[in-house]
Amino acid sequence: MPAAFSEKRLGLRLLLCLSFSLSGGSPADPTVTTQDVSKSQANLLTKMQAGLNESSPEHMTTTQTVNQQTQGNLSDHLTLGHNISTSGPGLATKEFKQASGGNVSDVTFVEYEVLLPGVSGTSVEKNITLDRGTRIELSCRLDNKYSHLKSLQVTWKRGNETVRHINKTETSWSIQLRILDNSKLGSYSCTLKGEEEISAVFNLQVPKIEGKEKPIVSYEGDTAVMICKSFGYTPIAWTWYVTNGSEQIAINDTLLTNKYVINRISANVTHMKILKLTKEDNGVYWCEAAFELGKSKGKLKLKVLSLMVPLKPSLAIVAEVVILVTIIFLYEMYSKKKEKGSEAEKEFDQIEQLKSEESNGLENSSARHRKI
């Protein structure tokens, strides 16, 4: 179903391939690997479509990741990762990621394929997360369906600055970038100008850190623990900041060991314990993860309450319990009294009856005596 969905509903499919070469091997290598990759890509594509047919429902954003290890002509292991995400308005982006570990001499390619929509005006955005310095190749590919469109002027831009591109094939164009520091990150766009303008944007960014949306609630004199996690990427260092007014002040736990304890629990997780909380510790805290290519922040909120705050509802509930129990016991005593009262009445009636019967009986017996 989704395959049909992607075929019918999508317009132009442009595959943007990103090829990675990590350590720059011989010139022959990239082409070899590209071919290998495209072969395996094709295999994977069909498999992905088959997979999509089975399980992903329509109208939902689904992300499927298929990891395959293929041993091709390369001596190392190729790990191929595929992400196929179908999002709302009929845009499909296919991301092919390849990376291999191993020796320095190995060549790694990461291909990012972005499908450009056929409708002009709308543009596709692709977010790419990078945590370390790499060489990447961003490419825009035009689907064979639309190869009839001639005289296309292709421009690659970063902001207002034009980047020189390579014509990989008749229908694909790419740029090669060396991302070594923060300055190279940003948004790169490829624009195809023909009768209509088609464009795609690549956002190169550092990994995002998740803080906590809901505030952490704690009490005066207690200890609060704040946790920051990085998903998938290991930061070089973690730093914690506290917001003082409009400034962010770094927390030095060696200086204030009685107050703050910062622990790096694992490579991707950091804990900060704030001891002996006071009302002043209320506020916003930031955890910052430093990566090779830049820094990323997560936001956390701390609320410090006094013990009176939960005490009031508790006392209210205790009062309610006491009132209910008293009502129940009073009702029980009342109904018992009522029963006793009615019983006493019954007994009284019975005694009266007995007396009257006795007197009747005596009269009868005396009458009998008299008769005899």
Partner: protein
């Protein structure tokens, strides 16, 4: 680890409340219920209504807290793990200890009820729970949490659970299955409210404030306890017997013989008080906790069958959400499966009560119980065949239905087998025996999953165990019914004047005496009443 298992379940429970409660009550009033003449061995005729419905309401609150509190508590695990820097299995010990204490405290609960009656025990239990949670709010180490939340609150819940179930047997006879079904329906209803409430409290007050407020909420068990008005042979029948027979005596010749006819219950009681001095150790223990139940055929059948059943009872609930995630369903849909289960459960329990009360099912309620266990097992066996989300939804619905059916009849069948008089001790002994297998079930399932890497073996194990338990119970109860019928025939042939109740063996007399003796404290004020009335009558006689 059981704790993990329970935790996973609780984390994913988001449920809406629905009122399955009053269905049964309205259905009753339309005249649906027709019960066979099941004789009571209580020594009096239970009211089967009136204040009994208030008692059912209180019992459902108590039972609800006892069963759902450990499950709903797991919301706090993540935070506590971070604060105390401990691993998941260490924090999960809290709920394990709580569950173990709740079930293991059964015999103590039974002894206390035998001695003091239901009401004081439940009120004390409620107080204990409240104290436990409030002190947990001020804990500074995980060990203190184990004690406060695990032991103290767990024991308080144990003192809530058993007496609530016991007192239903004292207030209902003809409509007992319905009453049981309604009382057990408190569990899913309470889960609906406690789970989101806990989340709300945690978001607004943090874990310490939440514990404080939860302690106050648990005090509501005392309210439930206050509703458990004591009832016994003296409270109900003596008055009616007195008034009816008293009238008759007064209408006839007024002699002292009328006095003896008036109070048949007095005679055995007076005999009993004379005998008490000459009792030996065993009988004294049996007064508090009836170990002679182990010679009771029905009780043994129930015990073995249930102990076997609990091995596979709770594990599927615990692993349903993880299984759903394993086959690729997203977290919210997996949580929704549990919600479906809870809603179906909520409706199934009172409905099962009504069905069990009908004249066709009640005499053969043990078969119905065995059938529902086997049905439950079959659901589990078929679960691995369910593919995709729809299959799992269907499984959840059937599972909820089966789960509700079994739970609703869990205590009803025991009451049916041993009689309401000995039920007090029976329930204590049964819960402590079940305690082991209840705690073992999910970890064994977890081990199977870890060893084979596949959930289907866990489902197969649970299903097989339950089908086996159901079949065992079915066959053994068939044998039991035949033996009981034989014994009944023999009794009739012997011409025994004292009509023993159908469900107990020849110790009927002893039971009756025991019951009247055990209800001692409850009868004190009434005994005095009777004395007073006797004097009045004597006075009138002399006239």
């Amino acid at each position: 680890m059981l704790g993990d298992a329970i935790c996973i379940f609780c984390k994913n429970t988001h449920i809406l409340c629905s009122a399955g409660y009053w269905e049964a009550v309205f259905a009753q009033r339309s005249g649906w219920t027709m019960s066979p003449s099941v004789r009571s061995d209580l020594g009096y005729v239970p009211p089967d209504g009136g204040w009994g419905w208030a008692v059912v309401f209180g019992a459902s609150i108590s039972v609800g807290f006892a069963y759902t509190f450990p499950k709903a508590f797991t919301i706090y695990f993540k935070e506590l793990q971070a604060v105390y820097s401990i691993s998941y299995s260490q924090i999960a010990w809290i709920t394990s200890i709580m569950c173990a204490t709740t079930y293991g405290g059964g015999p103590i609960s039974s002894i206390l009820v035998n001695r003091y009656g239901s009401r004081p025990v439940v009120i004390f239990g409620g107080l204990l729970c409240g104290i436990g949670m409030v002190s947990a709010a001020f804990c500074t180490s995980i060990l203190q949490l184990y004690i406060c939340v695990g032991f103290i609150t767990g024991f308080g819940l144990a003192l809530n659970l058993q007496p609530s179930v016991i007192i239903i047997g004292k207030y209902f006879l003809k409509r007992r299955p319905i009453a049981n079904g309604l009382a057990m329906a408190g569990s899913p209803v309470m889960l609906c409210t406690l789970a989101p409430l806990n989340q709300f409290l945690f978001d607004n007050f943090g874990w310490r404030g939440s514990f404080l407020i939860l302690g106050a909420i648990l005090l509501n068990c005392c309210v439930a306890g206050a509703l458990f008005r004591p009832i016994g042979p003296a409270t109900v029948p003596v008055k009616t017997q007195m008034t009816e027979e008293g009238k008759g005596a007064l209408k006839e010749e007024v002699t002292e013989d009328a006095m003896e006819m008036n109070s048949p219950t007095d005679v055995p009681m007076e005999n009993k008080t004379e005998e008490e001095g000459g009792k030996d150790c065993c009988e004294k223990i049996n007064r508090y906790l009836d170990f002679s139940l182990f010679k009771h055929r029905g009780f043994l059948i129930y015990l073995i069958g249930n102990v076997l059943m609990f091995l596979g009872f709770f594990a599927p609930i615990v692993f349903l959400a993880p299984y759903a995630k394993h086959i690729g369903i997203d977290e919210y849909s997996a949580a929704f499966l549990l919600s479906i289960l809870a809603i179906v459960d909520m409706i199934a329990r009172p409905t099962t009560g009504i069905i069990a009360n009908s004249k066709w099912v009640r005499p053969r309620i043990q078969y119905f119980f065995s059938f529902s266990i086997a049905f439950n097992g079959t659901c589990h066996l078929l679960c691995p065949l369910a593919s995709g989300y729809t299959g799992l939804v269907v499984y959840s619905i059937f599972f909820g239905l089966a789960f509700g059916m079994v739970c609703a009849m869990l205590f009803e069948t025991l009451m049916d087998l041993v009689g309401a008089a000995r039920f007090t001790s029976a329930v204590g002994l049964v819960t402590i025996a079940e305690c082991c297998t209840i705690l073992l079930g999910p970890p064994i399932g977890g081990t199977l999953i870890d060893t084979f890497g596949d959930y289907k073996y866990m489902f197969i194990k649970c299903g097989a165990v339950m089908v086996l338990a159901g079949t065992f119970l079915f066959i053994m109860n068939y044998y039991n019914y035949r033996m009981l019928a034989k014994e009944e025939k023999e009794r009739k042939v012997k011409g025994d004047p004292k009509e023993d109740p159908v469900r107990t063996e020849n110790e009927g007399k002893n039971n009756w005496n025991k019951e009247t003796a055990q209800d001692g404290p409850e009868l004190e004020p009434l005994r005095e009443e009777r004395e007073g009335l006797k004097k009045e009558m004597n006075g009138t006689n002399e006239v």
